[in-house]
Symmetry: C2
Subunit: 640 residues, 2 copies
């Protein structure tokens, strides 16, 4: 898709002369008086969370935002492979694939040894390691990512829209009497100040079971629970601008890391529509305690710096769609909820997510991606507790999991920023090696949750060596048995709050009475200890909480569905219709056998338990009924 | 995507409890008094045409429809590969891929030799020949196809919406004084009768330059120009129903052709959402002159017949979302416009498209697909004449091209229907062989336009053996030079009314001064005889009428864009920004070298001229400047 040729226009590029989206979105009325979840902030974390909660019509959510309407331009743009996988779960990956700019290769430029004032290309790498994800690394205006989430919310069962022009004034949290607390469940009272001209200065009060602060680096929610960001007092300043420009720099449509001899460095990020480009321009080092905002830097300063760095190439900027200057500050909060460290008696009622609890250098492209994963992590947990499917102690895992991931990323980010901003000028070859080595961090696929009530011990990890416990489920192509459709196995994991058990068959003929898949299905469908039975409410479809899928080793033409266990052809809905999408076979024709790709034990097979946020929770033998039951017993709530 | 589990619901399955789309679409006011094009009928042909015309804000179009709002259920559902390619040009292929049911394999069932009253599977084939198209064969409710076109129209520069509840009363066509006619260009006057309760019986008059009848088999437009459908007085009756059902028939999610011993045949078409299925049920032979509507057939009759045919399998229908009975009638009009055969002095002002001029047996899945190709064929031609880019005599090619294609398809269809409905019962093995052999017809890729002013002679066909003149441009994967993005070359052909010249480079280094690509670009950019120069209006972008793309033989990392001809890095728009999407390289890593796949002469290279509707118009040597100029001179209008 090509657009922005005649100037940057916000909104859907498929709409000719689109009206500003602000005009037709958002709730116009007052906020509700009482909700299950109040989300403060319509950034990536808040919208990911809101979109997840909106899938459940029985959860009442309110999301508020200081701005008067949806974001239209600027801010983040990098979308990691892992984030694309999450977008697939939310149902809009194909829209992003179509509209975004794909980052296919990254090039490196350094001073020319013969003429140091000029730059020359020193290297070129494929951006994403082969096979790391079924999705590419792309870039797209953050505003469009917001639009896609807003669209999910609008179409959802809850038909959720944000309330704009509200600033959080303060939060009051009623004391929690402990896990057995029988007090008013609406423990948090938030006061909001209205900012729109018609209601300016008016105060609204809203009572909530849970409040989530997705309100950015200066988070009012974070302050209200007495937490703070710790970390660098950064003294490297960078400028960023989205421009429409004419240049003879040949790699303007590649992500390019450029180090000049004496004028600093630039990162070039080509953008959606084929014409727009983002430039990150290194500015001078700040003095101790100095703020970049005091330097009175202008867009013209940034353009001039970019032109010096790009020599001998020219740069003629025709339009600046957005620009900003900032200091790099890698900062982190100790804990992402309102319960003190080590206190497991009390349950959290206030959480923080995204920039409210961790900030990153934009150049590693992490901020928006990590924030959305925060929202995805917290969303299903809140939903499962509110819907009484899981025990509230599950909520402790949000901070534990996401704080550790954020810390690891900030450590990586700090190294990366230091390398880029090194006063000696970074060594291009070293940067390139580092870039390749850390591709998995950049892609968002390195996050690894430690063993917990949600993450099993790796006792049986060898049964599925390529599907690491605690890491995201790495999809692979398969063929659906009942209709021979080529699909990605990972794409069955939608953002619907359900758990999945992927049962990989062993060597036994699946039609045999003693086949591991068959006995597993018998257990899951019939045994009193089966988590499927225990945790599925009466009257719900058999797969409404735990969705069992089978993957066989045979070509799909060799198997007969008539002999398959009934759990794999479940009868659902008011008519008792058969769901034909539970069984898969390897993509043998394409040479992509999932058993080989993911290191599945062909003799024994295995079970891979996958969380609602696409992370592998456990790997167990096909007959590991007791450990399977024990795993779900650790956090789920019996339904009958 | 899974949906319809608890009953068929019309509308967008991504919208929870969607309101009926009828409520929010369509124009509420009166029709305009004067338009460039009046389209009668909001079926597949009419909407394809309307969506094409809506891309041009300078064309005034009105589309009217008898029904009171958009279609919600029933009618056609097969979407051929070729149609998916066209949807890509219209910008919504990814939505159809996501929502539709993919037909991956087709199975064949026949009477069991041991127990003739039972059916057994006799064969199974991959539905679409390997490599036939980059798109699969899919099925989706016709109503959803309409929705996608309506969405294109709504978002388009013309912001076009249908006027519903209008029946065409009559047409009056002012006589055409010949090609040099200076009379009133609004030659056709249409009278419409309003059918909505608020305006029932009121008449509207609308004057149009062109009227297109897309008003179905009983077309009032066709009658008004004195044409008729000729062909079979069919005496085979079929029933069709979309059902939600429970069955133990194992191939219910495959397209299945089932022949019972003594109860007739069924075709099973699995449908979108994972639960719905369409059944075509053979009914008794009609007597001469008998109409199926006189038989008082009910849905229960169809269900009973299906149950008999499916033995020993059971079928329990839970809901009938839609059903109908019809006779197979393969019928065709002699000519698709209002100008008598052999008359080339007079220009057509009324056209007919879709079922108005050809009807097909639904079982070969042709009707909707061929109708949309009619609309695609006519759309760009009308637009180019109205926008004074092409000579009006171009309009003669619509009937010439589409009537021949329809005739060929009806011949195929008739054979196919006869085979299926043969009174002796068709031979399953023969059907399967026939099915495979005719896959290209079914996929819609067999259409072949004869030489004309729009279709060159195959003198140089050997330079691109796999890109047949007169057939649709067969896409192949390539790598875009400037950003290394893997793309489909054919997907650059959007429904934007532009011509393309694909210049495939020969063996010479493209950087060399004498390289064929370079001298071609010099000719196209600079020579007085260049069609790019002659036919591009002043002030328009250089690629606004004829879009030149180059495909090199080298790996993309071996080529430097700095040395490429400026025509391949054109400066466009109000800022003179550079368009970086004109150059491509083979996908060598994927083992899909387009030069090999499409039989391009590696030594000499070639030019492939592609029409706005994706058909190959010509294949010429890279230095075939004179024949290239002569080709465009045959129908284009000099702009300055």
């Amino acid at each position: 898709m090509q657009f922005h040729l005649n100037g940057f226009e916000p909104g859907d590029p498929e709409v000719a002369d689109a009206a500003q989206p602000a005009a037709t979105s958002g709730c116009s009325g007052a906020v509700p008086e009482q909700v299950d979840v109040l989300i403060v902030g319509c950034g990536p974390a808040g919208l990911t969370l809101a979109a997840q909660l909106s899938a459940f019509p029985d959860i009442k959510t309110c999301i508020v935002e200081q701005k008067s309407g949806p974001l239209l331009r600027g801010q983040a743009d990098g979308i990691a492979c892992r984030t694309m996988e999450m977008f697939e779960a939310y149902g809009f990956s194909e829209r992003v694939l179509k509209e975004a700019c794909w980052i296919n290769e990254t090039t490196f430029w350094k001073p020319d040894d013969k003429r140091r004032e000029n730059i020359v290309r020193s290297g070129r790498v494929q951006d994403t390691e082969e096979g790391l994800s079924e999705f590419p690394h792309v870039v797209l205006n953050q505003a469009r990512v917001h639009d896609f989430f807003l669209d999910v919310m609008r179409k959802s069962p809850a038909h959720l829209e944000p309330h704009y022009a509200r600033r959080l004034f303060d939060l009051q949290i009623a004391p929690d009497a402990g896990a057995g607390d029988n007090a008013d469940p609406y423990r948090v009272t938030a006061r909001l100040e209205r900012l729109d001209p018609a209601h300016e200065g008016q105060t609204e009060t809203i009572r909530a079971r849970y409040v989530v602060g997705c309100d950015g680096a200066r988070s009012a929610v974070r302050k209200s629970i007495g937490r703070a960001l710790h970390g660098d007092s950064a003294n490297h300043a960078w400028g960023v601008m989205d421009v429409l420009a004419v240049t003879d720099f040949p790699d303007i449509r590649f992500k390019s890391l450029i180090q000049s001899d004496s004028d600093g460095s630039i990162i070039v990020i080509p953008r959606e529509g084929g014409y727009l480009v983002r430039l990150y321009v290194e500015l001078d080092k700040l003095d101790a305690g100095e703020r970049v905002s005091n330097r009175n830097i202008t867009a013209d300063n940034l353009i001039a710096a970019a032109r010096r760095i790009l020599r001998p190439y020219t740069l003629e900027v025709k339009e600046v769609a957005w620009w900003s200057v900032y200091e790099i500050g890698q900062r982190l909060c100790d804990k992402f909820d309102n319960v003190p460290e080590q206190d497991i008696q009390h349950l959290p009622s206030v959480f923080i997510a995204g920039d409210a609890c961790h900030t990153h250098s934009p150049k590693a492209g992490q901020g928006m991606n990590v924030s959305m994963q925060d929202g995805f992590n917290l969303g299903w947990k809140l939903a499962s507790v509110l819907r009484k499917r899981c025990a509230p102690r599950l909520l402790h895992t949000y901070s534990a999991e996401r704080q550790a991931v954020a810390k690891e990323l900030i450590d990586f980010d700090r190294e990366w920023a230091a390398l880029l901003a090194s006063s000696k000028g970074f060594d291009a070859a070293e940067t390139q090696r580092y870039f390749v080595r850390h591709g998995r961090y950049t892609a968002g696929t390195a996050a690894h949750y430690r063993p917990s009530i949600l993450t099993g011990e790796p006792t049986h990890q060898h049964l599925a060596a390529g599907l690491k416990i605690g890491m995201r489920f790495h999809s692979a192509p398969v063929i659906r048995l009942t209709d021979a459709k080529p699909v990605q196995l990972g794409h069955v994991v939608k953002a619907d709050g359900r758990w999945r058990i992927f049962a990989f068959a062993g060597a036994t003929d699946p039609a045999a009475a003693n086949a591991g898949i068959r006995t597993l299905c018998d257990f899951l469908a019939g045994a009193g200890e089966s988590p499927v039975r225990k945790y599925t409410p009466d009257g719900e479809d058999i797969d409404s909480e735990i969705d069992v899928r089978a993957i066989f080793q045979q070509d799909h033409r060799e198997l007969a569905i008539e002999v398959m266990p009934s759990l794999l052809l479940p009868r659902k809905g008011r008519y008792g219709l058969c769901d034909y999408e539970k069984m898969f076979c390897p993509d043998l024709k394409g040479g992509n056998d999932i058993f080989t790709l993911r290191g599945i034990d062909r003799d024994r097979g295995c079970m891979v338990v996958v969380r609602p946020d696409q992370y592998v929770a456990h790997v167990l033998p096909l007959d590991g009924y007791a450990p399977l039951a024990a795993f779900f017993d650790g956090f789920m709530t019996r339904q009958h």
